[in-house]
Subunit: 406 residues, 2 copies
């Protein structure tokens, strides 16, 4: 047997890759857990999901489903029994629950210390600043009282200017928990509501970015890492609408800088599994970090159809401490567009139309009931020309939500 | 809504592609049904499998499993209830069972009339001959008695020469049910055993082929068809070991001829879903049909990683009468190698080694216990150079079965 013959990551009962395959437990059963199932099927890895409801996206396609809440320590510990490793569909598992798991000897990837940086925006910014990674200027609002928070915010605004951004330190996603503050009155409203709800805030300068980028890496417990091509993400109303892979016109130096930032963050924070570093780019080309996600991320969905190894496969390989797969793209350009629910009662006719219009279109539906604004699927197209790919992907995404009928 | 807005294929209760997605019932739960699950997850299509055992390959990865036998009409009819369409993992469902399903109003693809040609080698050869599709010279042995069968075979051998081939009309696969007949004594042994077991035989000339090819097409009930690149299949001991896509050095004319044969067979026999036409090529370049398979086929596994739309996705799209996806390859060359079980007690260390050696390797494990000679998985590599791809794929396949240790 060769030098890599040891069983590094899977520590449990998994024997052969026959009926005793390694078991990866996924806390949360949304679309990210769902999209782990195709590579798990190929790799011969078994998934077990902790689902809130029996019809959650991932619970529809994975046989081994445990119903329970991600913030119930007993439920999570019981779920983890028999898993070779536990990972996540989302970042909302409380630190105390993660620590209970680790106490019980469960392999958890990413670990609690790493994950804290994706859960707590203040801790992340402090740590990244200490590592010399560029982050926009920010401050933590004094949470002692509304007046104390108003005082910190007013001082921050005096020094950096209006408008500025407030963000909830924990729990935000898809534009939720982020407020653009134009006036002292808006400031007071957000601060008062946050104080009532026990939500702590940071203030951050409004970065005059010209576009947003995402740099994704996979990193395994033994320290191997691979970097995906840096992509551009197009957001509307705080929600990712399209992803262009690779980021058009991004120079080799900037691309390497973004990948270096992601590799540094992954190594220094000991991230295991997929890491996405969301970046702002300003007119002078400079980059700064907006947010981190320690899991497969919307900005990497293009890789399912567009790369030799998708982010979902590399996430599984990483958390099992298996060697990572090549992130090499299949085509010069990949464009992904999210399908947001609008008011189409039955998506099926639109789905059929889109397949007929474009035989190269890759459609992904998450098994969700359609609700306005909800991400219910995505489409990806590959090609040689960015403009063509954007037209094909955005047409299909708009058609599938019922925005257009031609 | 556009012109293609009707609900053509899915006729059952399927509503949106949310929680009421179309349900495809698959009779049989082997690796082919298993490999339908990844595209079903993406398409938002639900699979239900009829499995002989709870740990069958596909039953490990699909939540909706019904235990039962494919030749029990009541079990099959009960299984089909609530499916929008029923399709197959294998071709062994008796015609009477299929007819019961169709009587009950179940949409079955491929249909019983088409499927008969993949089940009965004599019917297939008669029909293909009538269509003008080239088949090797053959005859049906008289099944009335051993002496009658010997008489027909001897006459066939006198006319066409020794050695020749005997094949069981029904039930053979992977070299089983095929005998190379060198001597009259061998002939008598096979004929006597077949007669005892009630197995009917055909005799066929031994085609002096230089290689074997496979032409795959997908065809939908409304008559749309797409042709995959023609591939070369490398067999040893009657079992497919490697597939080269596209077939090296096959001229455009021969390639078009092979695709035309497959499209003709699909249309004339009213095949729905995937069809594989296995072909012999002789030294003069001429093609003749060896066998048909009306389901996803080993010769198309390369398409999972190597084409825009895999054979498994196009099979689902075809049986649901959805528009078909592009079969366009991602790379100039794809090579697939089957992993046959040998005597490696635990595949995991070899699996880890292969991933470390080749980050571009795509490994597929079927969740089977390892038994000598059994197909337990396959590997695929993409590249620009056939020699490199063959080395990478065959090395990994040999390593995973424990044939080599370096």
């Amino acid at each position: 047997m060769g030098t890599d013959g040891g069983r590094a990551g899977a520590t449990g009962a998994a024997g052969s890759l026959g009926v005793g395959a390694p078991v990866v437990g996924v806390i949360g059963a949304g679309q990210l857990a769902r999209m782990m199932q195709p590579p798990a099927v190929a790799l011969g890895v078994r998934l077990r999901v902790l689902a809130a409801r029996a019809d959650d996206c991932a619970a529809q396609v994975i046989p081994d489903v445990v119903l329970g809440s991600h913030d119930d320590p007993d439920a999570v510990v019981a779920f983890a029994r028999g898993c070779d490793v536990v990972t996540f569909d989302h970042e909302h598992v409380p630190t105390a629950v993660l620590e209970r798991l680790i106490e019980q000897g469960v392999a958890v990837h990413p670990g609690a210390d790493a994950l804290l940086h994706a859960q707590d925006k203040a801790v992340m910014r402090e740590q990244l600043g200490a590592l010399g990674v560029p982050v926009p200027r920010w401050t933590r609002l004094d949470a002692a009282s509304v007046d104390a928070a108003m005082h910190t915010a007013a001082q921050f605004a005096r020094e950096t200017g209006w408008p500025f951004i407030l963000k909830a330190i924990r729990g935000g996603y898809d534009g939720k928990g982020v407020w653009r503050i134009e006036t002292p009155q808006q400031l007071r409203e957000v601060v008062e509501t946050a104080h009532e709800r026990g939500v702590e805030l940071i203030a951050e300068v409004l970065v005059p970015f010209v576009r947003e980028l995402s740099a994704q890496v996979a990193r395994s417990p033994h320290g191997q890492a691979v970097a995906y091509p840096v992509v551009e993400t197009v957001q509307r109303d705080g929600v990712c609408r399209e992803v262009y892979a690779p980021a058009p016109g991004l120079g080799a130096d900037r691309s390497a800088q973004a990948q270096r930032i992601a590799l540094t963050v992954a190594r220094e924070l000991d991230v295991t599994g997929m890491l996405a570093v969301e970046l702002f780019q300003t007119a002078d080309g400079a980059l700064s970090v907006n947010e981190l996600a320690m899991r497969p991320h919307n900005s990497g969905h293009w890789s399912i159809d567009g790369a030799v190894t998708s982010q979902f496969e590399n996430h599984l390989r990483a958390v099992l401490d298996l060697p990572l797969g090549a992130p090499t793209p299949h085509a010069p350009v990949a464009v992904m567009a999210n399908v947001l629910g609008l008011d189409l009662p039955d998506v099926y006719p639109a789905y059929l139309h889109c397949m007929a219009r474009d035989p190269g279109l890759k459609i992904h539906m998450y098994g969700k009931a359609v609700k306005p604004g909800r991400k219910i699927g995505h489409v990806t197209v590959l090609g040689d020309n960015l403009g063509d790919c954007v037209e094909r992907a955005t047409h299909a995404a708009a058609y599938l939500r019922g925005e257009i009928d031609e």
